[in-house]
């Protein structure tokens, strides 16, 4: 739809036996408001390295990027905050009960088939209760095995090398065990010194004479990471099943803020994230289709500070999570479905602060959560409507500190889509949703924290939009895709952590009220002249996100930190036979690094131009693909987060063989 990769995958679908998607009627599995989506070919053409890089191309999204290969990358959708975003990997939510954030930089694009972004929620009622439970969601889907007729194995190997001393080999092996079961194995190793040049320059106002101009090398940003994944996909007489095992381990430097007189830091972090998850969908009878999801996850994090001038830190954290969910849909009439889903989750956090003595103030929290959702969907041909009511119950127990009260919250959502003309795919979409997030373990039990009872943080969304899609076979315009959305969100009882007294003591409380008004526009098109294929996608976001917490604040009514008023992206691709050229542009307008919209906190706009060349070819039966990328082509010195400089121009070369 969007970008082009020539030859290789173009005709693949015709001769592939798809194992999946046998189950249930198509109607029930389709969401009524289409997500923003990047999949297979478009993703390959964009040549992005991590999921975080890909998500920058969605509208309404702000990526928080601390720079470099190993730097933390989180996203904020429609300004409601990082913690309000749910991230789902192969259909099951990734958890981080400790800090509530998922580092999207950890998810490499090596085996990713599709990334979708849903505002509100996936508007599909046959899903687990947790799918209803975030203000917005990202779904990351790994590649599933597909075999050409007569083939029982697929092998893909790739090697990426580039700036920051990057070395990234990976291998993907898919094997057809039987007609009913496929297997897939994927492994990857990423190694990078993370070193890059940063440049700081200041000029005098008016005269533009140089005041200072300095270049340094960003250090302690090294990364050594590996990822292993194994999956089984099967079909049953009346459904499907899948099991996945995932392991990611890394050892990295934490480069820290660039401040006066300090150019290097001693903080290090290693982590191991593992999970095993399974899913099965069964069409039990004409009136009952069910799915079962299960997951067990274990995460380990180790922070250490080797800087002798600072507080000696050597902290280890262990998180465990068990999750089980059942979702059921009951078609009552051809135009009316009802669904019922129940999820259960158990989380614990364990910590070791490497102390010699027996002093231990850590809370050792355990959280059990129950989600129950009742939903209904009506499909009157041109008008589709959904309503859901989610009931969340959270119980927490602690070994130390004060036990928080049990929380129970009802959160409703309504989604609707109306096809305006009978023969055109021109729709009016709208939704309302009120949702909340719980305080994370860090927010409640951080060491040296005075923990008080913290209420959930609520996000309310009103959104309306128009979408138009048109595909034509034999004309100059092959494809047109226009989307326009306007929304108004509020975030209440925002959970805020601040040091409540000098130095060591922190506290978390519910304070903060933010109103967000925004417009997202996107325009995608495909044009073909002869064998030349042009594709483009333009996307623009306007956001006004104001802090209305306290009228006596100096920043009352000011734009909240790091939300630009204007942002946008443009992608243009040109393909000619087995050559392709992709160009992308990302713009983030002026914004402020702190609450007060004053000159001292002003952050200039930044924009980068990225370009990539791709050539595909065959050597006997082997498909080869070579790509060269140049990112930040004009070498702009920019910072997404104040004092965390981003790399200047950098290069990456990748070579993929497939057989």
């Amino acid at each position: 739809m969007l970008c082009v990769v020539p030859v290789l995958p173009q005709h693949r679908l015709d001769s592939i036996q798809v194992l999946d998607e046998v189950v249930v009627t198509a109607k029930q599995n389709r969401e009524i408001i289409a997500p923003q989506k990047l999949s297979g070919k478009e993703l390959e053409a964009l040549n992005v390295f991590s999921v975080a890089d890909a998500i920058r191309y969605f509208s309404g999204v702000q990526l928080k990027d601390y720079g470099g290969v190993g730097g933390l990358k989180t996203i904020n959708i429609r300004s409601m905050g990082t913690n309000q975003v749910g991230v789902f990997y192969n259909g099951i939510q990734l958890g981080n009960a400790q800090n509530g954030q998922v580092d999207l930089g950890k998810f490499s694009m090596d085996n990713i088939e599709e990334i979708s972004l849903y505002s509100g929620q996936k508007s599909n009622i046959f899903q687990t209760a947790r799918d209803f439970g975030s203000a917005s969601s990202i779904y990351i889907t790994a590649r599933k095995p597909r075999f050409k007729a007569g083939k029982a194995t697929n092998l893909k190997a790739s090697l990426k090398i580039g700036s920051f001393d990057l070395l990234n080999p990976s291998v993907l092996f898919e094997y057809k065990l039987s007609d009913a079961v496929n297997m897939s194995f994927n492994g990857e190793w990423i190694n990078s010194s993370g070193k890059y040049k940063v440049h700081y320059k200041r000029v005098f106002p008016n005269s533009d004479m140089v005041a200072y101009d300095t270049t340094a090398v960003r250090k302690n940003g090294d990364l050594n990471a590996s990822r292993l994944e194994a999956s089984l996909y099967g079909v049953l007489p009346r459904g499907t099943w899948a099991v996945q095992a995932y392991n990611y381990s890394s050892d990295r430097g934490v480069p820290g803020a660039v401040i006066n007189n300090v150019w290097r830091r001693g903080e290090r972090m290693d982590d191991i994230n593992s999970f095993i998850q399974g899913n099965t969908k069964l069409n039990l009878s004409g009136w009952w289709t069910t799915q079962l999801n299960m997951k067990y996850a274990a995460d380990y994090t180790h922070f250490e500070n080797f800087d002798y001038t600072l507080y000696p830190t050597n902290n280890k954290f262990w998180q465990k999570e068990f999750y089980v969910a059942t979702a059921n849909i009951f078609p009552i009439k051809p135009w009316w479905d009802v669904s019922l889903s129940y999820d259960f989750q158990w989380n614990t956090l364990d910590a070791d602060f490497q102390r010699m003595d027996d002093y231990d103030v850590f809370a050792y929290p355990t959280r059990t959560s129950h989600w129950l959702v009742v939903a209904t969907a009506f499909d009157f041909d041109r008008l589709k409507v959904q309503a859901s009511l989610l009931n969340t119950f959270v119980h927490e127990s602690v070994k130390k500190q004060i036990v928080p009260e049990d929380k129970q919250v009802f959160s409703p959502a309504f989604f609707g889509s109306f096809k305006i003309f009978r023969d055109e795919d021109f729709r009016l979409n709208a939704f309302y949703k009120k949702i909340f997030r719980m305080a994370t373990f860090n927010e409640m039990y951080y060491v040296e924290m005075i923990s008080s009872d913290i209420d959930p943080e609520y996000a309310t969304q009103y959104s309306a939009g128009l979408s138009y899609r048109k595909a034509r076979k034999n004309s100059f315009w092959r494809n047109l895709d226009i989307q326009l959305d306007a929304y108004c969100n509020t975030v209440e009882d925002k959970i805020i952590s601040t040091p409540k007294s000098p130095l060591f003591k922190w506290t978390t409380y519910n304070l903060g009220y933010v109103k967000i008004k925004g417009i997202d526009v996107s325009l995608g098109s495909t044009m073909q002249i002869d064998r030349l294929l042009f594709q483009s996608k333009l996307q623009y976001t306007y956001q006004k996100a104001q802090d209305f917490t306290d009228p006596t604040d100096t920043f009352y009514g000011d734009q909240i930190p790091y939300i630009p008023w204007h942002s946008g992206t443009a992608i243009v691709s040109v393909a000619y036979e087995d050559w392709a050229l992709n160009y992308s542009f990302i713009y983030t307008g002026e914004r402020y690094s702190q609450s007060d919209n004053i000159i001292y906190n002003h952050v200039q706009p930044w924009y980068t131009h990225d370009i990539s060349f791709i050539k595909t070819f065959r050597v006997n039966a082997i498909h080869c693909r070579a790509a060269l990328e140049i990112n930040n082509l004009l070498g702009q010195d920019y910072e997404v987060i104040f004092n965390y400089p981003m790399p200047k121009r950098n290069y990456r070369f990748s070579f993929v063989v497939e057989l």
Binding site: Y200, K201, R202, V203, F204, P205, D208, A211, Y212, A257, V258, I259, N260, N261, V262, Y308, T309, L310, P312, D357, Y359, D360, V361, K400, E448, I450, S452, I496, T498, P499, K500, S501, P502, L503, F504, K505, L523, I529, F534, L538, Y540, D553, T554, H566, G568, A570, V572, G589, S593, Q594, S595, I598, Y600, Q604, P605, W606, Y607, Q636, Y638, N643
Partner: protein, 403 residues
Amino acid sequence: MKRPVAYIVLIWILGMGFLSCREDEHIIVAEYQRIPDPVDPNSRIAGMYLVNEGNMGSNKCTLDYLDFTTSVYMRNIYPERNPTVVKELGDVGNDVQIYGEKLYVVVNCSHKMEVLDARTGIRLTQIDIPNCRYVRFYRGQAYVSSYVAGVLIDPNAPLGAVYKVDTTTLKIIDKVTVGYQPEEMEVLGEYLYVANSGGYRVPYYDNTVSVVELERFKQVRKIPVGLNLHRIRKDDYGRLWVSSRGNYNDIYSPYGSVSSNLFVLEKKMGYNDMVVTDTIGIPCSNMAIHGDSLFLYSHEYDNQGGESMLTYAIINVRTKEVVSKNFITDGTESEIKMPYGIAVHPETGAIYVSDAKNYVSTGTLSCYDKNGKRQWRVQTGDIPAHMAFLKKINECGTLVFLY
């Protein structure tokens, strides 16, 4: 053939039109604001410097100056006066003092003490001291407390140090190891008294004041005072007033819950050693002594409600009695969210209280007259905290304008 390309280019140009572009980053220039104080031409005090700490990692330590000779408040004067200094003043200012003609700014997370010309705000040099905290002076030498004495021997217990810096050559000439994580210091007689906090050793905080004999520059004694010491000031009666932060009511501490307190140290008749003679029994976060009055503010937490209680008290240092529990008399203390610095004008007795708000936004500085009525309030930088008064020389006290 040309049409699609033209179309894309057109949209492109239209799109670019309303997006603003990036320019070279400018040196940040100071802001000036008039304050309603009458100018007293006979005053010996020219002005007051204020250091805004800036939140950790923000590199937003800034220097403000209140000019009493013109009644103008100047915000962020450092960058324009020192445009060539890469990344400006630095990260987390922790102290400011004036000695002779020089202004000393201790910048904690930038691991340096910045030395400026006190009349112009122009930088003379920087002295690198790891994790430096406070500076005091005695006979041409500057003494800088530092959380670390050097490369770790025992990672769980790095002892702190006091560095000795010559104020003429501006070079480190000596170092003495003191207690754990030393904070403020005070010179009394021939001795330097150092309040040790032990803040890195939770819950086993330090509880001593180190006594350093200045002549030999040796730690001669440690006086047990109270848990987690912070401030130390002398009065006109040869006493030391030492504040303890306690353990923030930590019920899991082996010492039990200990709240903040204020102690008085004095020499016993016939002895040369300072000992604790009085415990005032009032929490103290910061203090300023003016004549017989000790002004203090404190934030204490209520562990149940998670609320912090703010107190603005006056203590008569002669009688050691709490004279007032609120030196702000006009009710404007409710507009201060987080008091973070206090200073008293040496002549007028005006009280300056800074407000750090939520630590990540612009703070304020409020001026109260000696009766506790608010005279004015100005916006400062982030986390306004430390103040120092500049004396006039030959009637010429104005900070030199460069622009």
